[in-house]
Amino acid sequence: MVTPSAHIILANLLFAAVRSGTIILYPTIGEIFAERAGIMNVGIEGMMLIGAFFGFVVAYLTKNPYLGFIAGTLAGGLASLIHAFISITLQGNQVVSGLALTIFGGGITNFYGQHFANYQLKTSLKYFAIPWLSKIPIIGKALFNQDVLVYLSYILVIVMWLILYKTKVGIHLRAVGDNAQAANAMGVNVYATRYFWTFFGGLLAGAGGAYLTIGYAPFWLDAMTAGRGWIAVALVIFAMWDPLNAIIGAYLFGSLDALQFQLQAAGTTIPTSLLTMQPYLLTLIVIILATVIVRVRHIGVPKELGIPFSNEEK
């Protein structure tokens, strides 16, 4: 029999899991779509930092968290354009370009961020409970008593799923990622498609970072994202490039993250560092499993991923 207090602990844990998961859900969705178009962007960590920092600054200066969120989102998108230009037009090595973007993001936020170290946001996001749904035991509070940006992420996932499978845009996207030559021959502008979805990925990476500094932890610290961008890269594989699966992965990671905090708060004797380690360790195990499954089932990986496209004669 489940005691009432266990109920509450679980509910609180899930509530925190969703919040933490949302930080990572945005960039994972974004990168799913970028990779579906064939572009691999490992610069998510850098874009998240940029989004986190610039979002924070704008939110702080304007005292408006929503403006901050928009600013952070846009900043992430702008940063991704560098990677897009190098990967798509100049056909450069995408892994190294993404790495450079991450280093760049870390450097630039460190450089400008010192001034804002430990500043706190006084304003916060609006919370509200969705009537009736939020009364569902345990998961009601976790899913339906959240802030606006969490709800936005739900809408985002559903909308993106519809776009991917039910619209012409989605068909074009899937075509470009599976057979760019064919898409090109059918009149789809491969370059434009890739630019668009890389930019989209950057926007969402920035959004995830902005949520971190505006919604989740309303302050700025150097290198705050702590590797979440890399977890997002891994989660894309785990989700097998499907936006609905991304939720599972993101909230799973969020649970690990939340669990680790709960244990610390409960005064566990397990050393902090071993707790903070396990999300990364577990993501690694998840990736190993996902890789094996993908290989065995021959599904998922967009065939054009990482391969530059050129419609000039070879």
Binding site: Q91, V96, F104, G107, I231, P271
Partner: protein, 355 residues
């Protein structure tokens, strides 16, 4: 609109020009970023140069910062030649440092210096090698993406370090800071330039560079690595045991990173601490690329980046300019370098769109 035409061969002139332009472009982009912070870039850059070459001491500091870069980048070059994206040099560096610290902190205190340092060096090599073995095996046998696996292991390594530094290895008289006891003299790498921090690690680095150069250019193993990197299927056809060679190459790559870790704690800071800089692991990637995967060139590029690092600390100290600007400059250099990669294989012309 841009139009690309394939070149028949790659000219040497371009090969030299492109990196130089990349460095210049990086510096310009850095200057723009500095301007936005309302600081005079010329003063900042002058300060960087002073920090790097301004005096005999600062020049030795440049060498101090170059040392781990040499070891790390040389190890990365071997991995990259095989198309193995070892982003985990940082983690391998840390584990190497941890392994060698064990002996420094808990080994027999009266051990002759030569012996202690040899053991520590071997421990460093072993630690880095073991940490690299994990992603190597994952890739070799299960095709797990090495970018992600090496990256995640970096964070795991960092947390292992934190565990030791906040826990059992913390110096009891250190006022609660996460530092170990300072190493005894017999655990410190000897200096090679008096009155500086330049230590024997630099020599390790240079020797390693030449050894790896020899491996790549002259040995069967080096040939096999090139084939695997160029076409793993052809490698299999040629009877090359791809899995085994990936693992051996990564063991070497990780070992060198681990040795770099040992050099850092034994030769420079003389203790183990949390803030073992993540910067080196990622900068080494840029160095490896800028060197066209040539280990001897990497020595010089490492010195260049060592200079940037020294300069970065200088402006941080004297002008309160955060060190991050150095990463901005370095990543900008890398962007321009990758972007110009296409120039080497294609001629670009502007074609006017016909009406």
């Amino acid at each position: 609109m841009l139009r690309f035409e394939k070149r028949e061969n790659v000219s040497l002139k371009l090969k030299i020009l492109v990196p130089i332009i990349s460095v210049l472009a990086g510096l310009i982009i850095g200057a723009i970023a500095i301007l936005f912070a309302k600081i005079n870039p010329l003063i900042a850059y002058k300060s960087i140069i002073i920090g790097a070459f301004g005096s005999k001491y600062t020049f030795t500091e440049t060498l101090v910062f170059a040392t781990p870069l040499i070891l790390l980048s040389v190890g990365l070059i071997l991995a990259f030649k095989m198309n193995f994206w070892n982003i985990g040099a940082y983690g391998q560096f840390i584990i190497g440092a941890i392994f060698s610290s064990y002996f420094a902190l808990f080994g027999p205190p009266n051990l002759p210096r030569f012996l202690m340092l040899t053991i520590m060096a071997l421990a460093g090599l072993a630690g880095g090698a073991i940490w690299a073995l994990i992603p190597a095996v994952l890739k070799a046998y299960w095709a797990v993406n090495e970018v992600i696996s090496t990256l995640l292991l970096n964070y795991v390594a960092l947390n292992i370090l934190k565990y030791f530094m906040y826990g059992p290895w913390r110096d009891p008289i250190g006022h609660g800071f996460p530092l170990s006891k300072t190493f005894a003299l017999n655990a410190q790498l000897p200096k090679i330039i008096p009155n500086s921090r330049t230590n024997l690690g630099l020599v390790f680095g240079i020797i390693a560079a030449f050894i790896v150069l020899f491996i790549i250019k002259k040995t069967k193993f080096g040939y096999r690595i090139s084939v695997i990197g160029g076409n793993p299927n052809a490698a299999r056809y040629a009877g090359i045991n791809v899995a085994r060679n990936i693992i051996i190459a990564m063991l070497i790559s990780g070992a060198l990173a681990g040795l770099a870790g040992m050099v850092q704690i034994s030769g420079v800071i003389h203790l183990l601490q949390i803030d073992i800089n993540p910067y080196y692991g990622y900068t080494a990637i840029i160095v490896a690329w800028l060197s066209y995967l040539n280990p001897v060139v990497a020595i010089f590029v490492s010195i260049l980046f060592g200079a940037l690092t020294a300069g970065g600390f200088q402006i941080q100290m004297t002008m309160q300019v955060p060190f991050g600007i150095i990463s901005v400059i370095e990543s900008a250099i890398l962007f321009v370098l990758i972007g110009s990669g296409i120039l080497m294989h294609y001629r670009i012309s502007f074609v006017k769109r016909r009406a």
